[in-house]
Symmetry: C2
Subunit: 248 residues, 2 copies
Amino acid sequence: MIESSLKNKIEFILVEPSHPGNVGASARAIKNMGFDKLCLVNPKSFPDNEAFFRAKGASNILDNTKVFKTLDEALKDSTLIFGTSARERSIPWPLRDSDNLTDIILKELGKRNSKISILFGREESGLSNEELQKCNYQIKIPSDDSYSSLNLSHAIQIISYELKILFDSSEHIIKQTDVEASTEKEVDFLIKHIDEVMKQIDFYDKENPKQVHTRIKKLIKKINLDKMELGIARGFLSKIEEMLNKKD
Amino acid sequence: MIESSLKNKIEFILVEPSHPGNVGASARAIKNMGFDKLCLVNPKSFPDNEAFFRAKGASNILDNTKVFKTLDEALKDSTLIFGTSARERSIPWPLRDSDNLTDIILKELGKRNSKISILFGREESGLSNEELQKCNYQIKIPSDDSYSSLNLSHAIQIISYELKILFDSSEHIIKQTDVEASTEKEVDFLIKHIDEVMKQIDFYDKENPKQVHTRIKKLIKKINLDKMELGIARGFLSKIEEMLNKKD
């Protein structure tokens, strides 16, 4: 078995769940696969008796479930973020069919302070575009084209099941390194920094400034810089600013 | 995509489910993965509004759900039977890790009249020993040792998810053959026939006749004879009986 400290690096985040029963069933689902971190963003009702009833023997998960008002607060310390989505552009989840995704997760687990967050959207409408943009990767559970919307706790069951199988088969593969991961908050500061510099040098297309901004944001999320790389990028931007200010 | 006629060969059977909500969630779970055959044995309450509420867009599955009083009736035409169980002796389900199990399923799908039934037990107590003995194979969903009992509809979600992935990746592999599968009922007749002959030739250990009978039953289930092989075995037994009767 993999050390439980590594399983602690995985966190399941439900964004605005409406049904307390789904929250309880999700707690049971992750405990069945050996995980224990559940997190809620602005739930309709929590704590709630229905959640504890559906959790059965997993009430300890609910006792330790953190509740946040906003997604940003929930993601503050996250270093790698997946968002589940039914969109076709997303990466199919089956980890065993995706060496790339597997490598990304195993590499991240090896970083000192890593924390992998997996986002699940609302029962009726999923995650918003803005929420998906906060993710490093969008993932999609394979399902029938004509009826693809899974029950929330069932989606969590499949994702945690795949992760358990990955963990069980990779116990000797994960190399603990000294690399420190950058957190969601730090990445956001970098994106803001880039944005400021872009504005100063009049880089944005005046007609459509948002399009370039969105692309850059996506790119930065995708390359998943570690703390040192991010520091270099920030230093580079500061230096540019310094030079620009000197000119004024 | 695989032809839907092959997906029709898979049937999910819930044995004595207590909670109508689980039946509804199970209907949704299999429809999400492109399957449509759900079967109930002696359910506590069906049809039931709660089942239809939880099924969401999968109410057509419930409309076509067959209900049987006994498991034997439900299995009458089945040609390959899996029983889900949390026992350690069972075969772990992840199909992609088990070439053997994959081969068995693909081979069975190729037979003309094949019908693969997957049994799920009661919410509280699972399948009985007697019910598991009716299965060709016992399968186990990997789960955490300290908390292994999955919610019923979640177990169905994982099994149907694995089957979908198998179907999607095997569309060109399944060879339709002329081999005719033997049904559960025919296999039961064979086992009874063996039993009769065993008694006639005083084969059973008088102290413990049930032990040998159980082993033979298990063996016959495991080798999964096709119709022609089964016919040869029955003919062989009949010939023995004929010779024995001549002697009297």
